[in-house]
C-alpha cells in the first residue's frame, strides 16, 4: 500500500522533469523563461523562486480545496500565490540581495506566471495534498532545469563564460572577444528556446522509434491546432488549380 503510494508520488514528480516539462513540453511561463535566462545563475535563481511558490501554492490550495467555494476559487488562488510571491521577494531581498537585484521586476511577476495558476487550477484543486506536493515539486524542478539549461546555453554562447555563484567559474577562451551577443539579447531567448525544443523533439522521436512507437509531439508545439492551416487545406481542395 505504502509502496504503491510512493510510486504514484514518484511518477507525479518525474512527469514534470521530462514528459510534461513546463518549459520544453508545456511551453508555459515563457515571460520569465525568456527574459531572465541571460546566465546560468539567473536561470537557477528564478527557478528556485518559482519552485518555492509552486510547491507552497499547490500544498495550500490542495489543503483548502474543499473549503473554498468554486465561485471564488480563482481570487482565492491569486491571493495565496501573491502572498507566497511577496514572501519570496522579501526573503530574497534580505538574504540574496545581489540575485534579487539582477532578477528585478521578474520576482514580483511570478504572480502572473501561468505555470503556477495552471497547476493550481488543473491539479492542486482536484488532488490531495500529498499528490499536489509531488506535482509542484516536479513541475518546479522541471522549470528550474529548463531555465538552467537555457541560461547556460545563452551564457556560454552569448558571453563566452559560465559562472556559478562566483566561486566555480570558467571562461571559454575562444569567445573572449568575439561572442555572439545576439544570444543574450531578448531575441536570442527565442532562438535558443526554439533550438532546444527542436533538439528535445528529435531525441523523443528517436527514443520512440527505438521502442517501435510513433512519436507525436505535444499539440502546443506544432501547428496542428491552428485553424489557419486547416482552412488553407480546405481552400486548396476547392480551388480550381487542384482539380
Amino acid at each position: 500500500m505504502i509502496s504503491a503510494g510512493n510510486r504514484k508520488f514518484g511518477s507525479q514528480f518525474l512527469k514534470g522533469l521530462w514528459e510534461e516539462n513546463p518549459i520544453f513540453r508545456l511551453v508555459l511561463g515563457m515571460c520569465p523563461a525568456l527574459a531572465v535566462t541571460t546566465s546560468l545563475e539567473n536561470g537557477l535563481g528564478m527557478g528556485v523562486a518559482v519552485t518555492f511558490v509552486l510547491v507552497g501554492s499547490n500544498v495550500v490550495i490542495a489543503a483548502l480545496r474543499k473549503i473554498i467555494p468554486s465561485k471564488v476559487r480563482i481570487p482565492c488562488f491569486i491571493v495565496v500565490i501573491a502572498t507566497l510571491v511577496t514572501v519570496v521577494d522579501l526573503l530574497m531581498e534580505g538574504f540574496a540581495h545581489d540575485l534579487h537585484r539582477r532578477l528585478g521586476i521578474f520576482i514580483p511577476l511570478i504572480v502572473v506566471n501561468c505555470v503556477i495558476l495552471g497547476r493550481a487550477e488543473t491539479f492542486a484543486s482536484r488532488n490531495p495534498v500529498w499528490m499536489s506536493l509531488a506535482d509542484g515539486l516536479g513541475m518546479g524542478v522541471g522549470f528550474t532545469i529548463g531555465l538552467a539549461v537555457l541560461g547556460a546555453l545563452r551564457e556560454m554562447v552569448g558571453s563566452g563564460s559560465l559562472t556559478l555563484w562566483g566561486d566555480i567559474s570558467w571562461r571559454i577562451a575562444f569567445y573572449e572577444d568575439q561572442s555572439l551577443i545576439l544570444l543574450i539579447l531578448p531575441a536570442g531567448g527565442f532562438v535558443a528556446l526554439g533550438c532546444l525544443v527542436a533538439l528535445i523533439n528529435r531525441v523523443q522521436s528517436a527514443l520512440a522509434q527505438r521502442n517501435g512507437k510513433m512519436f507525436v509531439s505535444p499539440e502546443d508545439l506544432d501547428c496542428r491546432h491552428c485553424i489557419i492551416c486547416r482552412w488553407g487545406d480546405m481552400t486548396d481542395e476547392q480551388s480550381p488549380r487542384s482539380s
Partner: protein, 199 residues
C-alpha cells in the same frame, strides 16, 4: 443569501490569513533587508570616496534648496570629500544611475554605475573600469572635458565605447550635470563639512 455569505467568508478568511503571514515575514526580513541595502550602498561609496574614517552612509546631508543630496567622507574630523547620485534618463535601455565622488580639492575621485539596463556586451560596458575610470582625477569644477571626444572634438576628453555612443553620452552628460550642480553648491557643502568638524 447564505451562498453569498459563504463566498464573503471564504475570501475574507484567505485574505486575513495572507495578511498575517506577510506581517510575520516582513518582521523577520526587515532587518536583513536594511542591512543588505546599507552594505551595497556603502560598498559603492567606498569605491568613489577618498580615504575616510567616518561612516559616509549615515553622514548624509542635503543642500538648502533640496537640489543635491550628498554623502560626506570625513578624515580626522575634516572634510575629505563628498559623493552624490546622478540619474540620466537618456540611456539606451532605460535610466542610468551613477554615484559620483569628489574630493575637497575639487577632483573627481571616482564614478560608479549603480543601476543600468543597457544592452549586454555593448552599452552595459559603461560599468567597466576601462570606460568609467576615464572620469577619475579630473577637475570637478571646470567640466569642459566631460564630453565625448566625438561630440566636442576640441574640448571633450571622454572616449565613447565603440557601438554604444548613446550609453556613453548619457554617462558623460549625467556626470557633467552632477558636477555643475556640485560646483554651484560648493560653499554650502564646505560649510556643512565644517559644521561636522565643530560637532
Amino acid at each position: 443569501m447564505k451562498e453569498t455569505f459563504r463566498l464573503i467568508l471564504a475570501l475574507t478568511g484567505v485574505c486575513v490569513a495572507s495578511g498575517l503571514m506577510l506581517a510575520v515575514v516582513r518582521g523577520v526580513t526587515e532587518a536583513p533587508i536594511n542591512k543588505a541595502r546599507r552594505a551595497e550602498k556603502l560598498a559603492a561609496l567606498n569605491l568613489v570616496l577618498p580615504e575616510h574614517d567616518n561612516d559616509p552612509y549615515a553622514d548624509r546631508h542635503q543642500t538648502a534648496d533640496g537640489e543635491l543630496a550628498f554623502h560626506v567622507a570625513g578624515r580626522n574630523g575634516a572634510l575629505a570629500g563628498v559623493a552624490f547620485e546622478v540619474r540620466s534618463h537618456n540611456g539606451y535601455g532605460g535610466d542610468v544611475l551613477l554615484l559620483v565622488g569628489v574630493t575637497c580639492s575639487n577632483a573627481v575621485s571616482g564614478v560608479v554605475v549603480l543601476e543600468q539596463s543597457e544592452t549586454p556586451g555593448l552599452g552595459a560596458r559603461i560599468a567597466d573600469a576601462e570606460f568609467i575610470s576615464q572620469f577619475q582625477y579630473r577637475n570637478a569644477v571646470e567640466t569642459y572635458w566631460c564630453r565625448l571626444r566625438q561630440d566636442s572634438p576640441q574640448a571633450g576628453e571622454i572616449d565613447a565605447i565603440t557601438g554604444a555612443t548613446i550609453s556613453s553620452r548619457a554617462v558623460a552628460d549625467a556626470v557633467a550635470r552632477g558636477l555643475s550642480r556640485f560646483s554651484s553648491h560648493t560653499e554650502e557643502i564646505l560649510r556643512t563639512g565644517e559644521r561636522r568638524a565643530d560637532r
